[in-house]
Symmetry: C2
Subunit: 252 residues, 2 copies
């Protein structure tokens, strides 16, 4: 996949070929990070902005008793720390879940984007606001949805987010999470995660084959999870864009 950043941004924002060229240059400086390593640790003051190009990562918080809460899952095209400069230091860590390709963007490049490329700036804003919307949905999931529906909801979310960057193939996507990591994202114990997962399997809603997730009937899963994709704000400029997108989902 050439440029997941461009793909993601242009999916819901109007960007042109010139913008694509610029974003291609932005992601030129890549490096790889092995699975289960910190990309940025809590307390860091990173100079460069980091972006996931390939692989999965997560934001997480550690509690004094050693528990961990994953507060976001980062997929290709997601920023780790756009705008840390403004906040100063990281209040959480970012770790890879799989082998990852990470891009480091020097502050000068970010400044150039915000000063000279309003369309891109606006779409970066959009990405930030969607991240926030996802967090609100996670709060709702944690507060009010039982564990099985919560997991189902997360699978719906990842399905659409990964679809936006072309990583859903034939109703399946890669998801290199151990059950412990899933439990840390859902806020439950690993034992409970295991049981809820096998419930979902038994219901035929989600199947896990190795590191791949298969969602045979997305509508059924959405219904079970009470999933409303509105919060992802994927709707492009046209009114019926989402309908198209959703109708399209079986055809890939």
């Amino acid at each position: 996949m050439a440029n997941p950043l461009f793909r993601k941004l242009s999916d819901a924002n109007t960007l042109n070929d010139a913008d694509r060229d610029i974003l291609d240059k932005v992601i030129a400086r890549q490096r790889t990070v092995a699975a289960r390593r910190d990309v940025i640790s809590a307390g860091d003051r990173p100079k460069d902005v980091h972006l996931v190009i390939e692989g999965f990562a997560c934001r997480y918080k550690l509690l004094p008793d050693g528990q961990r809460q994953i507060v976001a899952i980062l997929v290709p095209g997601d920023f780790c720390d756009l705008h840390v400069a403004i906040l100063g230091e990281m209040d959480h860590g970012i770790a890879t879940l799989s082998n990852c390709t990470i891009v480091e963007i020097p502050p000068a490049t970010v400044d150039d984007l915000t000063m000279n490329h309003p369309r891109i700036t606006r779409s970066l804003w959009w990405a930030t606001l969607v991240d926030e919307a996802i967090l609100r949905e996670w709060v709702t999931n944690l507060g009010r949805r039982p564990a099985d529906r919560h997991i189902a909801h997360l699978m719906c979310e990842l399905y659409l987010r990964l679809k936006a960057v072309g990583l859903v193939i034939d109703h399946t996507f890669e998801l290199p999470l151990t059950q412990q990591e899933l439990a840390d994202a859902i806020g439950i114990s690993i034992v409970h995660a295991n049981r809820m997962l096998s419930d979902l399997r038994d219901r035929g809603l989600v199947t896990f084959q190795g590191r791949r997730v298969r969602i045979a009937d997305f509508d059924a899963l959405m219904a079970f999870a009470d999933f409303d994709p509105a919060y992802l704000h994927l709707v492009p400029r046209t009114e019926n864009g989402l309908q198209r997108d959703l109708a399209d989902r079986g055809s890939h």
Copy 2:
């Protein structure tokens, strides 16, 4: 309180008297909203940006079975929907918890700020990023902290946020939440909320007198809640700013 927006922003960002004048003008157009009314409903596309000047409000999501999750508590100085324009429609509602004074800021004013007032723009960015940091902490609270500590953590957070806008007086602050509303924020049932609240009272950590919360020993409450104020990014330009701020807390 004259201008909670200026107070909040200048607490962690460098702003001068000229900025204050501009922000005073920004909040000129005020209106009042009665308690327990929607300021903005899910699905709205508000033209103006809304800001709480006085009173308490909340962001919330409704589930199909009628359950509610409060995903943020808004206090004076907090924006309801800075930048909705970019996302299009609201994916959640905003309701008052008490009688509120709300400001409506026309898009032209926001544009003027972002184009002509870089210091203010930066501090608005800061406010947005802090909102996101608060959401991450809420995710952690919901996922990994038991209800009593979760409530204690929220009280610590509100204590510091309200202190930043001058609303903590003599170790107390107003909090016009019913137990049902608190339960909706913490993600528990009202019965459990009631029991955890009386536990906190019994431990002497938090006392509730009418609509006022008293935190006699903030250090003890922080310790109980495992509260680390770093995520609020209140630290001003100086290194020991937070220390000053925290040391100051008993003296008001």
